[in-house]
Chain length 206, copies 2
């Protein structure tokens, strides 16, 4: 990556990053088209290859950018003293949403990294997996859970619910360019979290 790319104005830089995220998450590496990216981002072909040596260089930059952006925003802003898992995930969801507002396709791209089979990508992605596991375990008070339910399974269900809610909302807004009401989404997610709380916590913690 040419360091010139880091110096251009933010709007343009984000636009390029977002278009690239979009194209790669839609078509994976091989079938993603740099032609589409430059058309979508409204820059010339030459400029993209002035910023990045080649397609792979661009992809690697995006990979690092994706992981670092998510890691920094979440790791540094979450209150790790919170011991209630539902308050914890509420926070995580909130920060994810903030990231999504600025980089709408960053988590799609992250999922691509996640599912990828390429060795060097997997390595980078270990950090994201660690973060995810830390969110659901670090400093969490598990004694609040009903004893009859298997903890690991309950936690998976919580994680899956949030992931699927995210995916389905994201699908719902696909194609429509009406801007997304993130506050309303957040409120609905929180109400799902309340359902999960009732589902999994002992009576005295409700």
């Amino acid at each position: 990556m040419n360091e010139a790319f880091e110096k251009i104005d933010m709007e343009k830089r984000d636009r390029i990053i977002n278009c690239a995220f979009k194209e790669f998450s839609k078509y994976k590496f091989d079938k993603a088209s740099t032609n589409n990216i430059v058309k979508d981002a409204n820059i010339s072909k030459g400029l993209l290859f002035y910023y990045f040596n080649n397609k792979e260089d661009l992809f690697k930059y995006l990979s690092e950018f994706c992981v670092n952006t998510i890691l920094e925003e979440i790791k540094n802003n979450i209150d790790w003293n919170i011991t209630d898992i539902f308050e914890r995930v509420k926070q995580a969801v909130f920060f994810k949403m903030k990231i999504t507002e600025r980089y709408p396709y960053i988590f799609h791209f992250g999922k691509l990294l996640f599912d990828s089979e390429s060795k060097d990508v997997i390595f980078k992605n270990k950090d994201l997996m660690e973060l995810s596991s830390k969110i659901y375990s670090y400093n969490i008070d598990f004694t609040k859970f009903k004893e009859e339910v298997e903890l690991k399974k309950a936690i998976n269900i919580i994680r899956w619910t949030l992931e699927k809610y995210g995916e389905e909302s994201s699908n719902r807004f696909k194609g429509i360019d009406k801007e997304i009401d993130y506050d309303a989404l957040l409120e609905e997610i929180n109400s799902y979290i309340e359902v999960l709380r009732i589902a999994f916590y002992k009576g005295e913690y409700l």
Copy 2:
């Protein structure tokens, strides 16, 4: 579609269908390659276009095949007299698994249809959506649910849990050609269902 295709031996027919399901669900319509399909299915280019007029014809055949196969297997085999939602979904999962054994990528392809924006595809897919909604509502006794939880949300969580479990297992086995132990999977799914039962049912129904 050339009717000759319906007459060839089942093994070959299923092989072609499965390779096509795989390619299309991986790359969507535009970027899917008929060259890859014939290579993977071990047939000649000419033969594929002897069976199907063109790529679109193949895709449409697959769409109908996908919808019909799922509909027939599930609609006709589920015991619609069952009123317990968890017994209902256990059955649905079982039949889905039976379909997956024979057509490993059929639900990936179905998801592609689901997420597609093309009008004529959406039409066909209405049937699948209706089935899904019927599974989770027809003849179901909702009085067993805790009154504090919002029914619609609880049902979404159940559905999402099963879907995500499916996706994650399917990812786990991707690349590995060791044959899948469907009985073990089914057992684990059932244990997730038991967790959900504890989570959402009133005490007297456990």
